[in-house]
Symmetry: C2
Subunit: 109 residues, 2 copies
Amino acid sequence: MDTSQLLKGVLDLAVLAVLRDADGYGYDVLRRLRAAGLEDVADASVYGTLRRLFAAGALTSYVQPSEEGPHRKYYGLNKTGRDLLAQSTKTWNHFADTMSVLLLEKEAA
Amino acid sequence: MDTSQLLKGVLDLAVLAVLRDADGYGYDVLRRLRAAGLEDVADASVYGTLRRLFAAGALTSYVQPSEEGPHRKYYGLNKTGRDLLAQSTKTWNHFADTMSVLLLEKEAA
DNA sequence: GAACAGTACTACACATTGCGGAGTACTGCG
DNA sequence: CGCAGTACTCCGCAATGTGTAGTACTGTTC
């Protein structure tokens, strides 16, 4: 099955979550997400999500040169981002609980 | 926050789940989903999903007249639908678990 | 009985968002 | 030099949930 549709609306949350502990740049965020189990995330999706979150005012951004390759554009959570993460986490948990109940086998008559 | 994006790819699963126990028509499926906690689902989304699942060969369909209003188009799971439900449930559970881990506070240093 | 709410469905255009592919650019290795 | 790995951007596409409008039938209310 295709997991890409499941990511809709959740990738924001996942990106915020991996940025919670430390700032990160796009390529790094991508690796963290894949390491966390979201192996099918495409790079363009992550870059796009970071830009969107930044445009929404949830992230700070600063560029740092790297000696091992091209420059890196770091992103970090600001207050808006942390609030968004907290709120989205609640929404997600509630939604996931609702789905869990719905998916329970109603064996007992 | 907007829950509509969270539904992407999951509405199929939710619809299959509510049809698991008994056949139902669109308006009825909509009520069952809302009763289950998915209160923001739009009617057009449900009708569209039912048509899509039917087109994909996962549902049977038959029309029955009603004495309390217009005709009703009933849908029911066939083998393909039950298989899809089982498979999608697994995918969803795995995905939800992954997200849960990702969202855990890493308090312990 | 005309108007309206509730039921039940269809069709269309639209917004969001993840993805694929192409392109740019820098470093280091063979 | 060519190629892989790193790092990012841009563009167009595809999937899918939503809003709006429209059709149609039943029962209630003024």
